[in-house]
């Protein structure tokens, strides 16, 4: 096996945790189970009238939390964890205040994603973050609901942090 050159700032997962907040193991709905998700995916609570189990689905702008591990990350292969979460219909839900670095955020503005051509989002340290209409961290309030879920802790930089977005969460 060939190892990649050592990077002192290792980012081998969708979400890297620097400071941990509360977490809770919860069931996922059929949408998440079917389409999968990346680590850092924003989720919101949903309801199943026939079940007493707490269930989350993809956020459409409402607050809730994020899923710390993706449903099928390549790093799972090294810890006997491949597709463990979708197979058993669960995920690890994180809420409250975390400090993380993630590649699960909106790269482009809502308007340009809708109409094109694509225009990069320009992230600035300290600005508020929301969940986009598909549950990714973004600095645009796409839903218009105004629920702040965190702020930018570190801006994406291709040289320094592999274009991960640093987030201080607040959900």
């Amino acid at each position: 096996m060939t190892l990649a050159p050592f990077d002192p700032d290792v980012r081998d997962r969708d979400v890297i945790v620097f400071s941990k907040g509360p977490s809770f193991t919860t069931q996922i709905d059929s949408v998440l189970k079917t389409q999968g998700w990346a680590g850092g995916q924003g989720v919101q609570w949903t309801d199943d009238p026939t079940s007493d189990t707490f269930i989350v689905t993809v956020s459409h702008g409402l607050p809730g939390g994020f899923l710390v591990w993706g449903s099928n990350e390549s790093a799972d292969q090294y810890i006997s964890y491949t597709e463990n979460q979708p197979t058993y219909s669960f995920a690890t839900y994180c809420f409250g205040t975390w400090t993380i670095s993630t590649r699960t955020y909106e790269l482009y503005t809502l308007a340009s994603r809708t109409a094109g051509p694509l225009v990069l989002n320009n992230y600035v340290v300290g600005e508020p973050l929301y969940f986009s209409l598909r549950g990714l961290f973004t600095n645009q309030d796409e839903s218009g609901l105004g629920f702040v879920v965190g702020s930018v802790m570190q801006v994406p930089n291709g040289t320094l942090n592999l274009n991960y977005l640093g987030v201080s969460t607040q959900t």
């Binding site: 509360p22 809770f24 919101q44 609570w45 949903t46 309801d47 007493d52 707490f54 809420f95 409250g96």
Partner: protein
């Protein structure tokens, strides 16, 4: 021999407030009003005026938020843990604050307007992710009663959101993700 009937449910709700993910907890003195009136688990509380210079005191929330009482003052389940009326006897309670996920009976079932003018009482419909506030008597509700009542302290603090709606399979408990 005592036999507890759990009614076939797979998640036990044998208390007023059931905690799934724990926030920060603190044992604190409670006000005379709470000692006289008692409280249910999940009751919202706010900090009250000191009677002793260095003893923080909690009292019923009147729309503000300082946390919620983890255990009620006289729950049936206390009989099985040798805790009956312990809080009232020793003049204290356990408040939980910060982030937690819990399920409670201490929420408003009816709208503020209908509680004032009713009957008939109009049930509140809770939806997943609804913002939650403290009602004027310290119960969880999705209505900003400080604003509805014209209270100068309005708007109410956004102190939680609905993580599970009340329904038959959860014994009509409200699931709450607390925020403050």
């Amino acid at each position: 021999m005592f036999v507890i009937d759990f009614k076939g449910i797979d998640l036990l709700r044998s208390r007023d407030c059931v905690v799934f993910s724990k926030g920060d907890a603190y044992a604190v003195t409670v006000s005379q009003a709470m000692l006289d009136g008692g409280w249910v688990g999940g009751q919202g509380v706010q900090w009250g005026p000191y009677t002793d210079p260095d003893s923080p005191i909690l009292t019923y929330s009147s729309g503000l938020f300082g946390g919620f009482m983890l255990w009620g003052s006289d729950e049936t389940a206390d009989q099985f843990t040798a805790m009956s009326s312990q809080f009232l006897y020793y003049d204290y309670g356990v408040v939980m604050a910060g982030r937690s996920i819990m399920s409670t009976l201490a929420f408003e079932k009816y709208t503020y307007a209908s509680r004032l003018s009713g009957p008939p009482y109009v049930p509140i419909t809770y939806n997943p992710c609804d913002p939650l506030f403290m009602s004027l008597r310290g119960y969880w509700t999705n209505q900003d009663e400080l604003t509805l009542s014209g209270d100068p302290r309005a708007p109410a603090l956004y102190c939680g959101l609905v993580s599970q709606v009340p329904k038959a399979v959860n014994q009509f408990y409200l699931g709450v993700q607390t925020k403050l």
